[in-house]
């Protein structure tokens, strides 16, 4: 049993981290009143941007001559730039142009998924050295800087750190308080002299960048290769986690690892292989139950931000 846990928990963390990044980013976003259904697409873009950065760096200097700092920084920075742009696009459409958030988010997911898989496929073709590795891309050069192979790696600590920081930010800082006010009641925030647009932009873009790191983690640590990644499933699950944790990133640390564990439990337990899919089903069903309970209990602290999903237009007071 002990041995099983020692082997299992690190894998659960490895599988849970993309969810943690995604949900932390989405919580920050939703606290500003934006329901960003583009998270799966943003994670995809973060992943492909990081992968492309790593790949191009490796191609240009050769795997042997790579610098550890650059090998780490280039993927991370490319990932952040990619997800920044996605967040910016979402904000421009929903905040500035006041477009419907659901439609915009779904389009962003379609866009991100398409772009990432298309570029991924192209990279595979570019990297193709022999016919056998036609469906996957190994970015071996940079991988070693992220994880030694099976351990969760330093990026996991970053993820947990960000989750804790976001929790503290929302709870204990003045800016966090104002952000929550924007998500709850933008008209009140506006009357109190808070720049609603700026808050929405910043929270959503920073949220996107955090979520983008989740995509990078998925490639660099969880799967360690680009081969038809199922980042979209992680992205939707991250959105589910937001509800599951009732908008608390600190709770999401445990919930993400728990969900990550459930996703692989079926493959790890001998007696459970036949129930693999049922274990994977649990996170969604539990989320549904939490969603119902939250709406049933009506405990105000656990409700979604009141203006979630609505565009704010001052003239419509």
């Amino acid at each position: 049993m002990w041995e099983f846990l020692v082997a299992f928990i690190p894998r659960a963390i490895v599988n849970g981290m993309p969810l943690l990044f995604g949900s932390t980013g989405e919580i920050l976003t939703e606290k500003s009143g934006n329901l960003n259904l583009g998270i799966p697409g943003i994670m995809f873009v973060g992943a492909i941007a990081g992968t492309t950065g790593a790949f191009l760096y490796e191609q240009s200097v050769g795997a042997a001559n790579m610098n550890a700092w650059l090998g780490t920084l280039i993927p991370v920075l490319s990932c952040l730039v990619g997800s920044f742009l996605m967040g910016l696009l979402y904000c421009f459409l929903t905040v500035t142009l006041r477009a419907n958030q659901n439609v915009t988010g779904l389009s962003l997911t379609i866009f991100g998924t398409g772009l990432a898989n298309f570029l991924g496929g192209t990279l595979i073709k570019l990297a193709k050295t022999d016919a056998s590795s036609a469906s996957s891309l190994t970015i071996s050069g940079s991988l070693k800087y992220f994880s030694a192979g099976t351990d969760p790696g330093w990026l996991a600590y970053v993820g947990i750190g960000i989750a804790i920081l976001v929790s503290l930010f929302l709870r204990y800082t003045r800016t966090g308080l104002q952000l929550r006010a924007v998500g709850e009641n933008p008209a009140t925030a506006d009357a109190a002299g808070i720049n609603v647009t700026r808050y929405k932009y910043l929270a959503t873009i920073i949220g996107s960048m955090i979520a983008g790191l989740g995509g990078l983690y998925y490639i660099m640590v969880s799967s360690q290769t680009w081969s038809e990644p199922k980042i979209d499933a992680s992205g939707w699950l991250a959105i589910a986690l937001v509800i599951f944790t009732t908008w608390r990133p600190s709770l999401s640390i445990f919930a993400s690892i728990g969900f990550g564990g459930l996703l692989i439990l079926g493959t790890r337990l001998d007696f459970a292989t036949e129930m693999k899919e049922l274990f994977e089903l649990v996170p969604y069903v539990v989320t549904l139950i939490v969603l119902i309970i939250v709406s049933l209990r009506k405990k105000r602290e656990n409700q979604p931000p009141q203006s979630l999903g609505l565009a704010y237009f001052r003239e419509e007071r």
């Binding site: 419907n100 439609v103 779904l106 866009f111 693999k276 994977e280 979604p304 237009f313």
Partner: protein, 382 residues
């Protein structure tokens, strides 16, 4: 600079703006494609056309794809008109497809269907209604659940329907992958994820699949196309001229006005979502029955794309037909474009371009709904 809400602008003007947005987007997409492929754009379009409409069979297949996407788009439309954000069409179609396939497998393995002495016509006469009923019932159930919780406790329907997609997927995967013992209950002959249903059972193989006419390939697409065409007309009439359709429109505009007029809002919400789910289920049946097989990816994101189709056409069935056609043309046409080194552009590329078009359409709604005034704003408060 100051932004104010416009009065409603004439419909033709709105459609003109949308049309121009789409046109600009398509030009941009063309430019991107050109930059990547360096192919003559005319050649690209020619290739896409011959790939999609080059023969009778290809044309049929293409219109079949249009029909399915249009069908799912029609399904989500009543709910959207009611301002109910159902993004669970993906799961509703899948669970319908699953139910239809389950009928083919389990009914198809009863002694009656395995015996060679009963004519296929009789078998089909039992099989088709069973499949349709099962598919519609399951799809309707998937639509009912979020509506029930929404009307009862105001549970967020966007997130609820989203989760239901994955619940459907995981249930389907579980049953498909684990019905391995005894062997005759296996879903697919070789245990892989994709396969022809019941291909190892000579006497029940093909029962429940839509027939080809004169054994011509592609003609099996005819019936789904006709069904969806009929559905389009029916749904158009339902939304535009029926009492139910009127109630949906009123609820979507103002729930308080609806109550004032004696419309029971909760009842309308549940009824409409059951309808949405049921049509999705029917599409699931058409998918399974036309293709004779089922796999995890059978819905292939149509549930999400349909949201876009319905929204970008402003719930107008004719608009939806053209939107579906455009999207199918891009998604399936992209595959037909050969790249210089022999590989082709894929569906992912098409999805990306499709999303670019969507961004433009989403953005242009701003011009339709708002007006920008420059200079110091005039005081017009009332």
């Amino acid at each position: 600079m100051h932004i104010i809400k416009r009065d409603v602008i004439p419909a033709w003007k709105a459609w003109l703006i949308r049309g121009s947005a789409i046109l600009i987007a398509i030009l941009l997409c063309g430019l991107i494609t050109y930059m990547i492929t360096r192919l003559n754009p005319i050649t690209v379009i020619q290739n896409m056309f011959t790939g999609l409409f080059g023969s009778g069979r290809k044309t049929m297949k293409t219109f079949y794809q249009v029909a399915i996407l249009l069908g799912v788009s029609l399904a989500v439309t009543p709910a959207f008109k009611m301002r109910f954000w159902n993004i669970g069409a993906e799961g509703q179609v899948l669970i319908g497809a699953f139910a239809a396939a389950a009928c083919m497998i389990y009914i198809g393995r009863t002694p009656l269907f395995l015996s060679g002495s009963v004519s296929p016509a009789v078998k089909n006469l039992i099989m088709f209604p069973a499949m349709v009923i099962a598919a519609v019932a399951f799809g309707a159930l998937w639509g009912f659940l979020p509506a029930f919780f929404k009307s009862r406790w105001n549970t967020n329907e966007t997130l609820f329907t989203l989760m239901m997609n994955y619940v459907a997927l995981q249930i389907f995967k579980f049953i498909k992958n684990n019905q391995t013992v005894p062997t005759r209950f296996r879903w697919t002959p070789d245990g892989t994820t994709v396969g022809m249903i019941n291909s190892q059972y000579k006497n029940s193989f093909g029962i429940g699949t839509i027939p080809k006419f004169n054994n011509k390939p592609g003609t099996e697409c005819l019936i789904p196309i006709i069904i969806v065409a009929l559905l389009t007309v029916l749904l158009y009439l339902y939304l535009k001229y029926s009492k139910h359709g009127f109630e949906i429109a009123v609820v979507g505009e103002s729930e308080r006005t609806a109550s004032y007029a004696g419309i029971k809002v909760n009842r309308v919400v549940i009824r409409t979502m059951i309808l949405s789910g049921a049509i999705c289920g029917l599409m699931g049946f058409l998918l399974v029955s036309t293709e004779g097989s089922i796999n995890d990816n059978i819905v292939d994101g149509r549930g999400y794309t349909a949201v876009m189709v319905s929204w970008m056409s402003q719930f107008n069935p004719i608009g939806m037909f053209f939107s579906s056609l455009l999207l199918v043309f891009m998604q399936f046409g992209a595959k037909e474009v050969p790249m210089p080194d022999g590989v082709s552009l894929d569906k992912n590329f098409a999805n990306m371009l499709m999303a670019i078009i969507l961004f433009f359409i989403i953005g242009c709604e701003f011009i339709i709904n708002y007006k920008i005034q420059f200079g110091r704003h005039k005081k017009r408060e009332v």
